[in-house]
């Protein structure tokens, strides 16, 4: 109990948003407001006041914003943090004697009663004057003192608005209630919320088939990737690849002498997680690539896979970090009966866990030192959770602009935990959500479920590990459809290219989601100039994303009804409604479909009886629609998706119709 003891009458019953009651941070990006809500009340009829408190985590003083009552004991205020970093927020509320007095006075009818009440006001004004003086607000103190004198003389200026405003600046908060939790808030840079990823294997970026690609080759590829509209270029591990138990092409148990191995089998005599595969180039080459990418408006994202090939230097230098089998050999990764003998996992239960943690974090620090600010973390759900909370927390304390993407395709609560622990973005189940029902349910949950405060989806129609059944059988139309969905449903999405734009769709074997001749195990050569490439379509989609802020965040997503289950319709808009996008996608890659789409005109702020224009930003076509229900037809062979921008009718004096 505070010094005020049992005299505190204000109650703060809840503070929102909250992730697990304040155990984990709510996430925002720079420039976004944190809208805080509190459930506050007191006994009886007295007037309450409440303030939202906030501060940078390392600041000592709180900043305060007056909260407004919305009814039903809900109070709200917002603040915009100064920049990226870690913040705290909380709420204070108190029964305000001055506000109560004024509220009551305005309602008093009996003149005698009123006279006594004015005298009470004089006391309150004097007390407020004393507080103003203590707060070094001399002018306020003087005005309040003068006012008190007038009240004592019975001069009835008791409801003076200006005096009320001055008194309100110096409330008596000696009996205030304080929300006991300092709720954490993480403010990221904008790319945490809106990003467009392109994954490529540097070793396949060579211009000559069969030759191992290099960072220099990737540099030459930058213009192409930038033209497609991506802003994050993500590279699978760039480290030396183990030779012991190396896998061959198509995951063959034994590698042929010239097989290049999997980049995720990290470490060989040339080095481990802080080294660069000699065939890719040097650290200098890497630095040059990072800089060249920046010139194209792109960032390099690195893959962090905390696991070792048997010949990783760690295995000899730090045998204590690995589990031993009873025969003395190092325990390889396994999920019986499956064995992954080319991979040694770290033992997060080992006695030297502190040494292990420090070393793993130093890998991040090393690459941050080389200019990398985005990490895609491989299988984080197979490493101890407390490590992530610590490592991400420590890294981001020093470098709040670093972004972590969790590559966890696993059970929902596990994926959510990783996001709570600090991951900036998370892979999703998007690749396996195909039907109208699945997409609607899943993206509604992502946009509106409790995860909206901390789980930022990054959706991928393919990855080097995931060639979905839909992509295997749907032809070019499904490649268009799935990327159109990804680019418009999610503010962050990515593709594994050039496999994607070149429609790569052969599985290693029927029933498998693995690519045939996967780049994971061999070099590939891609003909980027192929006529059927989707490069133009993808570039158009990504330009639409850049031009339309509605597509750069997820919170506003809303699905609309259609009378055809093959047609998915949804919209996004900016908070002020100045940018509104409505998408209609034909989910069937084989047949044209048509039907009626029923927009939520109230949500869009469109008058039900006035025409409005929908402008397809992909085709350039414009349609004049009226009312909620409008007809759409989509032929997947031409384009499976409309990405409409809504344009409202401008009323001009000439009585012509213009559209904004």
């Amino acid at each position: 109990m505070s010094a005020a003891g049992g005299r505190v009458r204000a109650v703060i019953d809840a503070v929102l948003p909250a992730v697990d009651g304040g155990r984990f941070a709510v996430k925002r990006v720079a420039g976004e407001a944190l809208e805080g809500e509190a459930h506050c009340f007191a006994d009886g009829h007295d007037v309450l006041r409440a303030r939202l408190l906030w501060r940078a985590e390392d600041a000592t003083a709180w900043q305060e914003v007056e909260m407004q009552p919305l009814g039903n004991d809900v109070w709200r205020a917002q603040f915009i943090p100064e920049g990226i970093g870690r913040y705290r927020y909380s709420v204070a509320a108190w029964v305000d004697a001055f506000a109560t007095w004024r509220h009551d006075l305005a309602r008093r009818e009996d003149p005698a009663d009123r006279a006594v009440a004015v005298l009470s006001g004089a006391y309150l004004a004097e007390e407020a004057a004393a507080r103003a003086k203590d707060e070094n607000a001399g002018a306020d103190a003087q005005q309040l003192a003068d006012w008190a004198k007038r009240l004592r003389k019975g001069i009835d200026a008791a409801l003076d608005e200006e005096m009320a405003a001055i008194a309100a600046r110096h409330p008596d908060r000696s009996l205030e209630a304080r929300w006991p939790v300092e709720m954490p808030l993480t403010v990221d840079r904008e790319r945490a919320r809106y990003s467009t990823w392109y994954e490529l294997f540097p070793r396949s970026a060579g211009e000559t088939p069969g030759r191992h690609g290099t960072f220099a080759d990737v540099e030459k590829r930058l213009a192409y990737v930038a033209e497609l509209g991506f802003d994050v270029l993500y590279l699978p591990p760039i480290h030396p690849i183990g030779r012991e138990r190396r896998k061959g092409k198509n995951n063959a148990a034994a590698a042929a002498p010239d097989d290049v191995g999997s980049p995720w089998a990290i470490g060989a005599k040339e080095g481990g997680h802080k080294a660069i595969h000699p065939a890719l180039g040097t650290l200098q080459d890497f630095r040059r690539l990072v800089k060249a990418a920046a010139k194209h408006g792109m960032e390099i994202a690195l893959d962090i896979a905390y696991q070792c090939a048997p010949d990783h230097p760690y295995v000899k230098e730090h045998p204590e970090w690995f589990r031993k089998r009873p025969d003395g050999s190092v325990q390889y990764a396994e999920n019986p009966p499956k064995k992954y003998q080319d991979i040694y996992p770290f033992d997060f239960e080992c006695a030297d866990w502190q040494g292990l943690w420090a070393e793993l974090k130093s890998v991040l620090d090393f690459w941050i030192g080389e200019g990398v600010k985005i990490f895609r973390v491989d299988n984080p759900h197979t490493k101890a959770f407390p490590f992530w909370e610590w490592a991400i927390g420590e890294v981001r304390r020093a470098h709040p602009d670093v972004i972590f993407l969790a590559e966890a395709f696993t059970r929902p609560k596990v994926m959510h935990r990783l996001a709570k622990l600090g991951y900036t973005q998370s892979y999703t189940y998007f690749a396996w959500r195909n039907s109208k029902h699945e997409l609607t349910e899943y993206f509604t949950e992502l946009a509106q479920g409790p995860g909206r405060e901390y789980f930022r989806p990054n959706v991928w129609p393919n990855t080097p590990d995931i060639l979905t059944e839909a992509l295997q059988i749907g032809g070019r139309a499904v490649f268009m459809q799935r990327i159109a969905l990804a680019a418009t449903l999610a503010a962050s999405y990515g593709i594994y290219g050039p496999a994607y734009e070149l429609l790569e769709h052969q599985p290693r074997e029927p029933g498998s989601e693995e690519y045939l001749d996967s780049e994971k195990y061999q070099l590939r050569h891609w003909d980027l100039a192929r006529a059927d490439s989707l490069r133009g379509y993808i570039g158009a989609l990504n330009r639409i994303r850049r031009d339309n802020p509605a597509l750069q965040s997820d919170a506003s997503l809303r699905f609309f009804g259609t009378d055809n289950d093959q047609l998915l319709a949804y919209g996004k808009q900016t908070a002020d409604g100045s940018n509104q996008i409505v998408c209609v996608v034909n989910l069937n890659p084989h047949h044209a479909h048509s039907g009626w789409v029923e927009l939520d005109l109230g949500w869009l702020g469109v008058e039900p009886d006035k025409p409005y224009q929908v402008h397809d930003l992909l085709s350039g076509a414009r349609y004049l629609w009226t009312g909620a229900r409008n007809y759409v037809q989509l032929d997947p062979q031409r384009s499976p998706a409309h990405v409409f921008r809504l344009r409202r009718r401008l009323h001009r004096e000439q009585d012509f119709d213009y559209f904004l």
Copy 2:
């Protein structure tokens, strides 16, 4: 971080049930299980174990129940607390090396691999043996040691079920995760969940009109109230009534010399909250009443109204507990422009708040000392909330069988807060919920909303302050209908009688919910033998409640569809389905209504194509129904409600149909 440091790999992401993350207690009654749920997982594929921990609040050692995984990382277990009182529960989870080993071993296919794994098992068995020895489980230790020897010799008893069970009793929990909150649980006696209240004014219980009734008169009334089936007899304040500013009949500002005043204007020269109004009798008379009520299976509930008449002894003895106006007078209750000059509220912000709290609590202690175990607290939302948490907590620590009913008809969050702070039961909005939509929505929220863990509704169709519009105009049928709803929708309900059974329905003035000639301000005399009295109907309803445990709790409530908005249908059943009640109520007191009711047969466990019997426990009529949709007709002039007990068909060899 615990001693195990960063090596703890198990994660406990949530523990349920929880009220505000464990800030407040979940409520159960004696004999009920607490079903605990935890969201637990670990990195990777290792096998997790989890236990639900619980203990009486003053016990030092936890009891443990193994939790079972239900899928989706949800684990569940339950325990039944030993009796009423305060408990704590929490969860422990750990990555279990032994269970992981055994799980993997069963899946290993490679013989060499298996042989190495069996050796690992020997190590694990030896470790388990050592732990068993430390835990003084000598026999287990010996068996495990023997088993380890066999494993070392290569004798393949590795998947021995018995050994696994023994090893499971001695897990290695050195790296266990522990839920950081010891979640509070309050276990009440059964009446907290299931109670039937009758409120009467003792001073109107006299046999002669115009004579002030006494406790002795109430004693004579006990048989009547018991015959009606009530188990709580609640008396408005029984203390001396203030003479200063006493209100007259029908709340007249000035009392006539013979006016008896409001029992809620507590205190006069004869005493205050610990005294008895001399006209009602003596403390001895009160004690006799308490004992006599018990013989009828009833408890006396007292009204606690923490406020004073101007001549309450506290006002002189403790002027520091009251707020002063600038003119030196004591601040009376007010909500401008309304004044309640006959009532002085306590000042919960006063400097001597500790003295005030102690005295107020001593009032409870005094009456507990006189055998009172149930308190109906008047307007708790106009007294400081921290006081309630402290006072109820302290009282119930010493007397866990004491029940508090909060008479707060106010905003939802305020009512919920009082329930969280410790109130056992709460008044509700039932009196003002009349339509099918209103009743369905409100009772669904009460039964299934977050409040279900702590907010126990006690529903009243009338009170001395609440004569609803529906009762004013609906005639006898609406009195039957409203009490039938109350008695079957809610496990706890009450009426203010004899006004209720005698159909008292005249308001003081049009548009008012106050009774004309309210007993709050004057004596009344009631003719209990009146032919139109509902005593028989009420007695029947309450007997049905006693005979049917389905009606004695709220959690199972479920509404059924009807094709007529004047027909409300709902059901309740016991957890084992052995007692099932289906009610259909005609909400229109003026006209007969008929329609089709659509039961949820899956929920009731009734086969869709088999007939079943519904037995109206009010009328005795029985109907044979088949399938979900059945026809119902209700004439409110005869009976506005069916209270059916479902009886299933028994299959007997003779091929006759019997119903249980």
